[in-house]
Amino acid sequence: MLNLRATTVLAAVMAFGVSGGVATAAEITGAGSTFAYPILAKWAAAYKDKTGVALNYQSIGSGGGIKQIEAKTVDFGASDMPLKPAVLEKNGLIQWPVIMGGVVPVVNVPGIKAGELKLDGATLAAIYLGTITKWNDAAIAKLNPGVKLPDQTIAVVHRSDGSGTTFLFTSYLSEVSPAWKSSVGANTAVEWPVGLGGKGNEGVSNFAGQTQGSIGYVEYAYALQNKMAWVEMVNRDGALVKPAIATFQAAAANADWAHAQNFNLVLVNQPGKASWPITGATFVLMHKVQDQPAQATAALKFFDWSYANGQKMAESLDYVPMPANVVTLIENTWAADMKSADGKPVWTAAR
């Protein structure tokens, strides 16, 4: 009897030891960002076909994702807003970027087609502050010589729900406009000085679509799929850029991930002639000390596989995959910072 029990314990210890190295989890759980949900779902489906390991991801919003990972009810959280180092430290979390995308201003002005209108950051901020109220304002006319601008009130449209898209957009306006920074600021939801709020990308695109003289902002994929009249932007280097995967990638390539503590980097207003100014990333959050190392390893394996094999899928959904050099940085962070409860590293496989 005693002998049998000892054997059972020994077997359990051995099983635990093995599972620390080799993942045996059948399901990874995650929660958070709705922005990253389509690509995570696509990767997960492909990953399940390959390995049999499923991902259960609840797209409940970044705020909810942060709460869930703090409460340890999921293996990872996903947030469009990077957490500050102090907050990460307090909750024992590490974060890294998983996917990037762009936010695009869209307009509905009679006679103006996609790409015909050009704006710079200061003018965009003034429109959203309510200091520019007419389409034929001198500031807009100066950027658009030869474009016929109507004498029409600008209907400003913004997101009414808290959103990573709003965080990127307001971060950009804060970067380029001191007035915006001091009176409104950047967050997933802000106190909008003017305009009407639509729920979700579809709400914004609908208001913008049916209200003449409107301006709004949506994720790039959304603007493309709905054939909305997007705007060309003047970037930090003074160059006119179109929203496209290439210009998002240019912004990402110029980003200095290596020197950003905890990858705490918002990609808006990046330098470089080809950089799209409103680009951002979704961040994955996991605990530094893992009570269930097997689950953590399974999650990391999924991200590793997705970084290596998911680029085409990401581009098909108009996302920007992380560049290889950044992936190396990320995986080094996994190896250095994430440990099981007894101090063993959770991530050992090198690519």
Partner: protein, 323 residues
């Protein structure tokens, strides 16, 4: 056959076989009733506890202030409270008379053959999910209003003194008025259905006596039916108001979701339930979340006050005009 042969009085004296179940049955029903009270109490307790951080931090300013700023974490609820009250008021002002009119028409004036189909059609309005009303409002009503209704209101009513303030600004097609009118359609079937029932319960003798005295249909409706049924009519309106105050999805689609109080009914605003639906998922920070829960507490309070006020008015009406 032996049932008939048995004398009747033995059957009456027999101890009912279900007597043993009586006590458990009483406890079961009492338990169900108490559970509802307990659930209500527990809900209120949670609302108060969760909203306490925000309420203690902002104090009365939470209700008075119109600033709702997630960046600086300063929250004031006056815009959503005002929006809730204004949209519900529009809904009742438009919906309630229309619903009572429909009920009178269906019960008194409508050709008998049409009563069934028309009644079912009105009641089917209640079966439409609120998200459908929202989409209908956003895709159909809002563009229609933006192009044809709001511009007319702005041109004709906007320049008027005092009243004109309610109809000014650019014609977005979404705002307080649209939300209120959608709500009016949504509360219509509730009020109409209750009104039909209470009007039908008016004794036929009263009606016949009035017609016998030579009263017209209008006079019968105005002086006999409505006074006799007013208690039930107000009850139906309270049901409708309850729905209007708490309605979420349909309003969120068409109100414009802006944390501002405008004098104009044509401008975007927000309601308590729309704010909760919009911001709960992404509310980061404890004070933000607590402020949203406090909004929920206020909505419960507003609904409670409305019901209390309606009951008080009902009681007063009863004393003035005994039936």
């Amino acid at each position: 056959m032996d049932v008939i042969e048995r004398p009747l009085d033995t059957a009456a004296k027999r101890v009912p076989s279900g007597l043993g179940l009586d006590a458990p049955f009483r406890w079961l029903t009492r338990g169900a009733a108490l559970l509802v009270v307990a659930a209500l109490g527990a809900m209120l307790a949670v609302l108060v506890i969760w909203s306490w951080p925000a309420l203690s931090r902002f104090g009365p300013a939470f209700i008075v202030s119109g600033h709702w700023n997630p960046v600086t974490e300063v929250f004031g609820a006056s815009a959503p409270i005002a929006g809730t009250l204004i949209t519900s008021a529009i809904a009742m002002a438009v919906g309630a008379p229309m619903a009572v009119g429909i009920a009178i028409f269906l019960n008194e004036l409508c050709p008998y053959r049409l009563r069934g189909p028309l009644g079912v059609a009105i009641e089917l309005l209640a079966a439409v999910p609120s998200i459908i009303y929202g989409m209908w409002g956003l895709f159909v009503v809002a563009p229609l209003f933006a192009n044809h209704v709001y511009p007319v209101l702005i041109t004709w009513l906007g320049p008027l003194p005092v009243v004109g303030q309610l109809f000014q600004g650019p014609p977005f097609g979404i705002g307080m008025l649209t939300a209120g009118l959608i709500l009016a359609v949504m509360v219509l079937p509730f009020i109409a259905s209750v009104s039909r029932q209470v009007l039908a319960s008016v004794p036929a003798v009263l009606r016949e006596a009035a017609y016998g005295l030579g009263a017209t249909k209008w006079e019968v409706a105005r002086h006999v039916l409505i006074p006799h049924a007013r208690r039930g009519l107000i009850g139906g309106m309270m049901l409708g108001l309850g729905r209007a105050l708490g309605e979420t999805m349909a309003v969120t689609f068409v109100i414009g979701n802006a944390h501002r109080i405008s004098a104009s009914l044509l401008q975007p605003g927000t309601t308590i339930s729309a704010t909760l639906a919009n911001e709960f998922t992404e509310a980061s920070g404890d004070i933000y979340l607590s402020s949203l829960v406090a909004l929920g507490l206020i909505l419960s309070g507003v609904t409670f006050l409305v019901l209390l006020g309606a009951r008080y008015m009902l009681a007063r009406a009863d004393r003035k005009m005994p039936t």
